[in-house]
Amino acid sequence: MSTETTPVIPLPLGAARAVTAVGALATTASAFLAWTWTADFPGDLTVTGYPGGLQWLTLTAGLLTLVLALASYGVPGLRWTSPSGSDNGLLYAAFGGAAVTWFTIIAIAIDLNGLANLEPGGWIAGVASLVALVGALGLPVDRHPKGTSWGLRLAKTDQPLPTARQLPSTVEVLLIVVAFAIGLFAITFGIDTEYGELFTGYLILAGFVIAALSKSGLLPRLRALTIKHRPIATGAAFAAAAGFPFTQTSDQYTSVAANILIFATVALGLNIVVGLAGLLDLGYVAFLGVGAYAAALVSGSPASPIHVQFPFWAAMLTGAAASMVFGVLIGAPTLRLRGDYLAIVTLGFGEIFRITMNNLNGTTGPKITNGANGIPRIPDLEILGFNLGQKHLIAGVELGRFSNYYLLMLVVTAFVVLVFARVGNSRIGRAWVAIREDETAAEAMGINGFRLKLLAFALGACLAGLAGTVQAHVSYTVTPDQYTFAEALPPNSAFLLAAVILGGMGTISGPLVGATLLFLVPKKLEFLSNYQLLAFGITLIILMRVRPEGMIANRRAKLEFHEADIPAQASPPSESALTKTGA
């Protein structure tokens, strides 16, 4: 693989390092200055001596750059932060610092009308972050040789890391726990951001920090650790997720978090259908709807024509079963189709579901769903005497309604993760992937394609229905308009598919991460109003350009999309000629 290790701006190594370190230090310090004179800009950046709002992001970036710069110097005790020994991570960190600082400066200028609103502190921050960046550009970084691509594009090859120092198991586990605690803090920060500027800055910084940490080798190290201690890592991840409501003082963001979980769980269910079995389902949200409607009908809501109130477990089973039946009914005739046809038919069925729910209103059809008004006033769940609608004091923290539902949903998510992981790695899962890869060959291997596709469809539907039963209670009301193909807010079929593809097809964490982002971005960027979908589209294009395999690449997809980066093996002779000559 041809990469070279050269600076982008020719500087002597010593000077480059010094400039980077000084710039990083100055950036860090500048976060404590006043950047603007008025508190009109959200977050109050007028205080000297204490960072506020976006300054925290600059501070984080500055510190990370400083630490990586010192590691690059080889300062003992900090070298562990850069196991790869490459300065690419440092460059990304410096980039992140400059990006988030200049984003803030521009945001101030736009919000307050003019750069005149910047205090000297703001200028110092801007200059310092650029100094760090220039210094980092002078460091020898691994990149594609000149001429093959534009100067800055860093090489994608991940050289194997030097073997890690052997740590005692307990220390490794502790590291995992600390990492997940930091992760929880970072995600909580993102969910809790109160204004669009801060969230945008957060996203920018998060992107660069993740890139920096993976190039420095820290994230790959962590990944290796989590693979080594998988059960503990999974446990820590769920413990961190369960910890979220305990960090909250009001229900404002726990409701967001509960809805993220619902969306993410449904996306994971869709990943079975799309990511594993390769069936493009454009009407998947209908299964969520079936589950929600089924649960609403048996919830004891006064608007439900069936005046029964199932206990929660029975309602869940009803929702999941109803969804599964619906899945089989749709799947049985359509799964004989291949490729594009299936996409079109599922798209149609998704719409049919919504329209049918609209029409079962007593005038255009039997009175079951109340039409467009939906089924309102769905009572809160009560599980073993624990009413999820009320506040409870747990471990000294008062958990409100949405916190309760969040925790309940987390259990459902855990169940779906378990199903996905276990089925994906089994005879059935392999058959699905085989069908996705080449259905004809799969059938020639003795796989009953139709039956397995139907199984994937039914399982996916069933899991979405399960999530739907919780959703009905979380949102009090189910209406047909919650289940459309596309609109500006999730969940809808288009966003679900985007979550799977952006996150990473065939992986577990991919759709979870993708769904979280796709839920938060439109929610937090409501100030963009009319341009929201445009911004969303641009984000999608950028992401697909940078990481076609999704944010979390599955081992296979990574190989698939970055073929050129893999040490090439002998390629088939005259393949094109051969593939043409019939089977």
Partner: protein, 280 residues
């Protein structure tokens, strides 16, 4: 891998395994396979040759249920095979493809494990619950798959992605994957296409080794040396019709074979871009 080197015909040629009666396949006006009958006996290696476009692959597709023959029946061990690929494999007839059709983004080992599909039963619930039965079956499948990789000489590449294998090894993997379904009859469609002489030689040894496992083989090839080294019997297909069948001498000395290959104008002899299966 194997020690068999002699081209001696198998001594234990047994009862008929595959019995094809009057198979005809028409695509609209084109008769790609015309009233072909053929038997393959236990322990036999039978060759199928013919110019490009003669209908060999189409004939294979009729046997394996990829195409439903317009006329005729295919029976295996006395039972008529239903025209469904997975049922044919289940019955014990496995195949490879002329244009390699591996599961490119699965590992080599996973490809072979997929081949075990019909011989294992673990379903959805078993996979979710992961009882001891599941682990036992999974371990057994793995064991068997690794044996087959050992047998075909791919053991060292078990964790590689199939698509990254060199061409010759991809062909071997197709064979390993087909063998994973414990077939009684293996259909090979041009197993040495695109191979160099050394690789062809190794493929020859592999075919003998498979026969020694008690698996009968029906093989399509253009490489005459390969065919006549290997096969107990060879059938020649020209323009959809079987014109001769017999041992090396019979086939080599047959007038019609010579004209079909060397002289007479056959417009199909040059057509190269048919895509037999993609039409299904």
């Amino acid at each position: 891998m194997t020690t068999t080197t002699a081209a001696a015909p198998a001594t234990t040629v047994g009862a008929p395994l595959l019995d094809v009666r009057g198979v005809t396949m028409r695509f609209g006006g084109l008769t790609a396979v015309n009233d072909v009958s053929l038997t393959v006996n236990q322990g036999e290696i039978v060759g199928l040759i013919g110019p490009n476009g003669a209908g060999k692959t189409t004939f294979f597709n009729c046997l394996t249920g990829l195409y439903v023959p317009t006329e005729g029946t295919v029976s295996y061990q006395g039972k008529v095979l239903p025209p469904k690929p997975h049922l044919v494999t289940q019955a014990g007839v496995a195949r490879t493809f002329q244009n390699i059709r591996l599961f490119g983004n699965m590992t080599v080992l996973e490809n072979v494990l997929v081949g075990r599909h019909t011989r294992t039963k673990e379903g959805l619930f078993s996979a979710i619950l992961r009882g001891p039965g599941f682990h036992r079956a999974e371990a057994a499948s793995r064991q068997r798959a690794l044996e087959l990789l050992e047998f075909t000489g791919l053991a060292a590449k078990a964790e590689h992605l199939a698509r990254n294998l060199p061409y010759g090894e991809q062909r071997k993997l197709e064979i390993a994957r087909a063998l994973a379904s414990d077939p009684g009859l293996l259909l090979l469609d041009e197993p040495t296409a695109g191979m160099n002489p050394q690789e062809t030689n190794a493929a020859e040894q592999l075919v003998f080794a498979i026969r020694d496992l008690g698996i009968a083989i029906l093989v399509i090839e253009h490489d005459m040396k390969f065919i006549f080294n290997l096969c107990d019997r060879t059938a020649v297909l020209v323009q959809g019709q079987k014109i001769v069948e017999g041992d090396k001498e019979t086939v080599q000395n047959d007038e019609r074979v010579i004209t079909a290959y060397l002289g007479a104008p056959l417009e199909t002899a040059t057509s190269t871009d048919e895509q037999a299966e993609d039409a299904t």
